[in-house]
Subunit: 415 residues, 2 copies
């Protein structure tokens, strides 16, 4: 029995770590994302209805409908969703992931990542940068203007640049970024400049004019999270490769919708295990405190699911200036995660640990046995729609998710 | 007496660490470098005559005269120098520094760095990238073609881009790069992409055409040492700020010409203390071994002089894949350097050491008392002219330099 599970887990984790995600292009969600349609909005985390949605998720849904030209304001947008004219579905049900609210609407541009090892694909939206942004629930005209520029001006050039350089090898980029102080989730400083470095020459060559080229390179290069979304799509492609292995207890999804934290397990198909989201503990921007914070939100936990983020935190000691703690805490975070993972990553290594591979493949059994839940690095959104990011910190999913999933696993397989 | 020296050293090190080097522009050596003239070639390290010059230095001097159109080949070039028609002088005598052979000829483009705290300036040449390059003593037509492209096509655009972004704050760039796994000497991966990231938008805007913009951004971005030369000029500006403080035992120059290692001391004016260069210990490229290596060469030890390079190695654990050793060795290197330095840098901090400042300001007395010589990260050149880089490793200047300098100090000040 344990042998069967171990062997299934080996298969699952090998598929995850041998995945080679390559960013191959950029296109319209409606055209690329499987099952996307004109009346569908995708969001982060497990399934949720409008009534249960938190402020930042509501704000992002409203903003997306304004962006689509489907609603002029808050009431109209809410009506469309409550009436069922516009439906909601998790990004994860459509091979996609989005940071924070993670809202993807039909005409939004999305990055397409292909796992060249197994052929599966994953998608993510564009990163808007900092401040008042849709993913944190802001939807004002300032946010809309930025989204329009990104879609009308930046996206076509970015797509051409990605094709011109024959794709971006995201696994290689991440491997290099881990040697440059990133952990791939909350700290993507090195990854974002490496991404900019690779695309900039092609942007210069393919942009319609020099001023546009300059503005696009700046938008990518000045945003220390510009690579987060392709990285998340890459992690999704890696995690999906490990999904659906009979008898495997490897966690292949961790995601939050701002109300609930949900996980899925390789050997348990599409079933979500959910519980209320805890609130992150961390550092708040001046003028904000824990009282303003929303419960944890976003699909970006796909990075931890794939052996990055808090799991790779030992590689990113400077991150503590952002999420709180000391460099020793960062080291401890990674060391602890070895206790609940099935393998060490062959491609993602940590110089600080003598180039040991990152802990990868969360084993449900190990989490329940040890009581150690996965660590997650995260951003903190204001709990009201329309405000935006107010901090960054650390969070863990409730243990109960893993206990319930393991019980379901036992029921399912009769162990 | 000791109190006088301590107080002089405090002044010197404060001038070094409070220096704010900003890359302000790029121009012709003949026009920018003080004392440069049509018949002068600058080189790395302490003064040297052709007869004593090693293979890589000779190769670079030959290559520079071919580049200048002064000689068609090896014999003609040698004749010009031996006859005294063309003179040689250390870069360090002309507010300049150059990596490896460090040859700067009159019509070469040089970066201009200004220490905005005290107004002093320093200069360095452009980085050619890898393989057969002038700084490692290669001078073939391939090398010449590359130099011509860099000077005719890249330099004017780079100069315009630097001006368009109102200069590059090299101290801020280095501070960030240290948090991204660089040590600022042999590992400038993060610094070079940060440099590229800052200039790329302006290059896109100011290049004569999109193809040229793309090629220049690629030349900067694909060269993990593209920022080394501006960094060296910045370190020279910092070290020069500390030079000339009466009664100070702080080392303000360490440099090698491929034959001799030389140092200068703040309180001892322009006087060089020299001894034969040791050979670096490190890793060789396939097909090469220690027998092929030249003794250590280059002004790049200016980085260690300013509290970077091997002194900041704890910040750069991944460098050991390049220079040999383990991440623990990298940590130990920095820890050891605290024993011979007068201060900890306020701007350059090491996340791995809980954001402790890098060891800075080599105190002659401490080196002699402890017998611990400064550590240096370095590239290894082939001992014959015309070949190029064959490895990278670690080296230390001979203790005798410091002993002699301390004796001279005692003589000079009557202590």
């Amino acid at each position: 029995m344990a042998g069967d599970i171990d062997s299934a887990n080996t298969t699952a984790v090998e598929r995850m770590t041998e995945a080679r995600p390559v960013l191959t292009g950029l296109g319209k969600a409606l055209e690329l994302i499987p099952g996307m349609h004109e009346n569908l909005l995708l969001h982060a985390g497990p399934p949720i209805a409008w009534e249960q949605a938190s402020g930042p998720l509501r704000g992002a849904l409203i903003g997306a409908l304004i962006f689509e030209g489907r609603a002029g304001g808050v009431e109209a947008a809410e009506r469309l969703i409550v009436n069922g004219e516009v439906q909601l579905a998790p990004c994860h049900h459509h091979s996609a992931v989005g940071p924070m609210a993670g809202v993807i609407s039909p005409s939004m541009a999305v990055y397409a990542v292909e796992n060249t090892t197994r052929g599966n694909r994953a998608y993510s939206n564009l990163n808007e940068g900092y401040g008042k942004v849709l993913r944190y629930g802001a939807y004002s005209e300032e946010v809309q203007a930025r989204l329009r520029w990104m879609h009308d001006v930046m996206a076509p050039v970015l797509g051409a640049a990605i094709e011109a350089c024959s794709g971006v090898d995201v696994r290689a980029l991440l491997a290099e970024a881990l040697h440059m102080g990133d952990e791939g989730h909350n700290r993507n400083k090195a990854g974002s400049v490496l991404f900019t470095r690779q695309l900039a020459p092609h942007i210069a060559r393919t942009a319609p004019d020099p001023a546009t080229a300059g503005a696009i390179i700046e938008a990518l290069g000045d945003n220390a999270l510009s690579v987060l979304n392709p990285v998340m799509a890459a992690c999704k492609a890696m995690a999906d490769a490990a999904h659906g292995v009979e008898k495997s207890t490897i966690v292949t999804t961790m995601a939050r919708n701002g109300t609930e934290f949900g996980i899925r397990v390789s050997g348990l198909g599409g079933r979500w295990f959910t519980a209320p989201c805890p609130q992150p503990v961390g550092l708040y921007f001046p003028g904000f405190s824990a009282e303003d914070g929303n419960p944890d939100i976003g699909d970006s936990t796909i990075t931890e699911t794939a052996g990055l983020g808090a799991f790779a935190m030992a590689a990113a000691p400077a991150i503590v200036t952002f999420v709180s703690g000391t460099p020793q805490d960062a080291l401890n975070a990674t060391m602890e995660m070895y206790e609940i993972t099935a393998a060490e990553h062959g491609a993602f290594t940590i110089p600080q640990l003598d180039f040991r591979g990152t802990p990868v493949g969360i084993d449900l059994r190990a989490v329940v046995e040890t009581g150690i839940t996965p660590r997650v690095n995260t951003g903190i959104a204001h709990r009201e729609a329309g405000v935006g990011q107010i901090g960054a910190g650390l969070v863990r999913p409730p243990l109960q998710l893993f206990t319930e999933a393991l019980e379901a696993f036992a029921d399912n397989y009769g162990f």
